[in-house]
């Protein structure tokens, strides 16, 4: 058991319905280690102030800490410059920013946006909105029954009309790891930029934006042991430079008069208003947690948990796995006989087990499988095989009750 990791997460000691909490909803949000929680408190106790403009000491300290995290993020994903790191509220806002700003500049009637059939609503709806505003068209890369992108369809979908390809790195509903390198290579042949929704990937694997050659990479702090309300848009500088601002306000401007406003340089041009300084600083601690734990150890441990759980599930009757892609990470999605996932989730909760049930904000994907939802177990580095045993005991009990 990974005691020294678990001990860093105070919430794991609590009970739910008088039973020890087993938290298997990590794809929704992970729990936070003490150092992240402490960092939030420390910021508000010792340096809270508004950044960038203040000449006083607190403002200087907070600015340095905030900009320090930006540099840390750049290193974390191997961006070539901190100017390519834009802080947002999370993945959803990152995608909305690109859809809106990129849309204004590059989308028009006759242009197409290419997404996939396994996208989270967050990587569908912003593009639908951008298409509606610009007259561009939304195209979809299909998914096969195993829950894999049908890559063989990609060449025929890419054309001079394609303005951007926006796909998820790892599916939140099925755990499928997409062949993003191949997708990017194919798009690059046509000089088409690629956006990756990395929300489910970066908690589990090292991401190197330069090695990937990706143009936009979006992720959230709260799915990688950091606080909620802060996330990142990585954008390749040459491309970001061409985009108009997303929101107007303080910080994003260079000079304002009633006749004309000139905009600030990157990354500030895309960060209107007072930023989320406290959460950004605590997010820095979350990245240190990941680095100190090590991606290798995280990935190996989670892989072990997935294999262990799948093996145990396979020994049971009536389990139907939803998504059986060759490359998967983080998530197991399944159904039991014809029992509604909601019923299973309710009973498991009574046993203190937190799993996700429902469509996982991927309704088009569920429609393709002809189901309304699944039971989803998703792991983080602090989970244990003992917890899996607990959860499966609860699952058996639930099946027994609902039969």
């Amino acid at each position: 058991m990974n005691r020294e990791i678990r001990d860093q997460f105070p919430i794991l000691g609590r009970e739910v319905n008088k039973r020890p909490l087993v938290y298997f909803d990590n794809a929704a949000t992970t729990q936070k280690p003490e150092r992240v929680i402490a960092s939030l408190g420390h910021y508000y106790r010792s340096m809270n102030s508004n950044i960038h403009r203040g000449v006083h000491a607190l403002s200087q300290e907070a600015t340095e800490a905030y900009e320090g995290v930006r540099k840390q993020v750049a290193q974390f994903i191997n961006a070539s410059s901190h100017r390519e790191i834009i802080f947002t509220r999370g993945t959803t806002e990152s995608i909305n920013l690109v859809a809106s700003s990129f849309g204004k500049k590059f989308l028009a009637p006759g242009k197409e946006v290419l997404i996939s059939a396994m996208e989270h609503h967050s990587n569908i709806v912003p593009w639908q909105m951008a298409c509606e505003a610009s007259g561009a068209q939304l195209k979809v890369i299909p998914v096969n029954d195993r829950g894999e992108l049908m890559l063989e369809k990609l060449p025929s979908l890419l054309s001079p009309k394609t303005a951007i390809v926006a796909v998820t790195h790892i599916s939140n509903a099925l755990g499928t790891v997409n062949p993003v390198k191949e997708i990017i290579a194919m798009a690059q042949q046509h000089h088409i930029p690629v956006l990756l929704d990395g929300a489910q990937a970066i908690p589990h694997m090292e991401v190197d934006v330069q090695a990937l050659g990706v143009d936009f990479y979006c992720f959230s702090s709260h799915k990688m042991y950091g606080p909620m309300g802060i996330g990142v848009l990585y954008g390749r500088e040459g491309l970001l430079d061409q985009l108009p601002p997303y929101q107007g306000g303080g910080e994003m401007i260079e000079k304002v008069s009633f006749e004309h406003t000139s905009y600030n340089e990157l990354p500030f041009r895309f960060e209107a208003g007072t930023p989320n300084v406290g959460d950004a600083i605590a997010f820095g601690e979350a990245m240190y947690f990941i680095l100190e734990t090590g991606y290798q150890k995280i990935a190996a441990h989670e892989k072990h948990l997935i294999e262990y759980t799948e093996e145990k599930l396979r020994q049971r009757e009536g389990i139907r796995f939803v998504g059986s892609a060759k490359e998967r990470a983080g998530v197991i999605s399944f159904l039991v006989n014809n029992i509604h996932p909601y019923d299973i989730g309710m009973i498991m909760d009574k046993f203190g087990i937190a799993v996700r049930t429902g469509n996982h904000c991927a309704q088009p994907l569920m429609d393709q499988y002809g189901i309304t939802g699944t039971i989803r177990i998703s792991f983080a580095v602090y989970n244990t095989t003992e917890e899996v045993d607990q959860a499966l005991k609860a699952l058996d009990k639930a099946i027994d009750m609902l039969r």
């Binding site: 509604h340 909601y342 019923d343 309710m346 009973i347 009574k350 429902g358 309304t372 609902l402």
Partner: protein
């Protein structure tokens, strides 16, 4: 005590027999299985109350001044609660349905199912039942 309150009292007593949650839920699940079948023609999209996860179908008609409900759900626990609500509200006058506060769900320890975050369609179902009652009442007032 009106008939709605009497029926609520019955259910309170039924659930009073159980000490632990598992017995309660087993009872609820049994109630779900015992819910009279809905006519297939009402298990259609226009009668669906969208609850995101569990779906609920609800149909109502007015007969001799009383509202008769029939309903279904694809989730068993939800169906159990649907059954309870139907037991209590079906066959009542529109006014009685509008006046019902349904606090018994809280008292028997099933309040959690009425949390709007549960996404099980029950909150919308109760709202829809009351809307039916309101519509029937308006119709009655128009045609004396």
């Amino acid at each position: 005590m009106n008939t709605i309150q009497q029926k609520e009292q019955e259910i309170r007593e039924e659930f009073g027999l159980f000490d632990d949650w598992m017995d309660k839920y087993n009872h609820l699940i049994e109630m779900g299985k015992d819910l009279p079948m809905i006519d297939e023609k009402y298990r259609q999209k226009q009668y669906l109350i969208s609850g995101c996860q569990a779906q609920v179908w609800l149909h109502a008609r007015l007969e001799e001044g009383k509202v008769l409900f029939t309903a279904d759900s694809d989730a068993l626990i939800t169906k159990g609660i649907v059954h309870m609500l139907i037991r209590i509200l079906s066959g009542e006058t529109p006014q009685a349905i509008l006046d019902a506060d349904l606090t018994f769900l809280d008292e028997i320890g099933l309040k959690e199912h009425l949390s709007p975050t549960r996404a099980n369609g029950l909150v919308s179902m109760i709202k829809q039942m009351k809307l039916y009652a309101l519509a029937f009442q308006a119709k009655q007032n128009k045609t004396p």
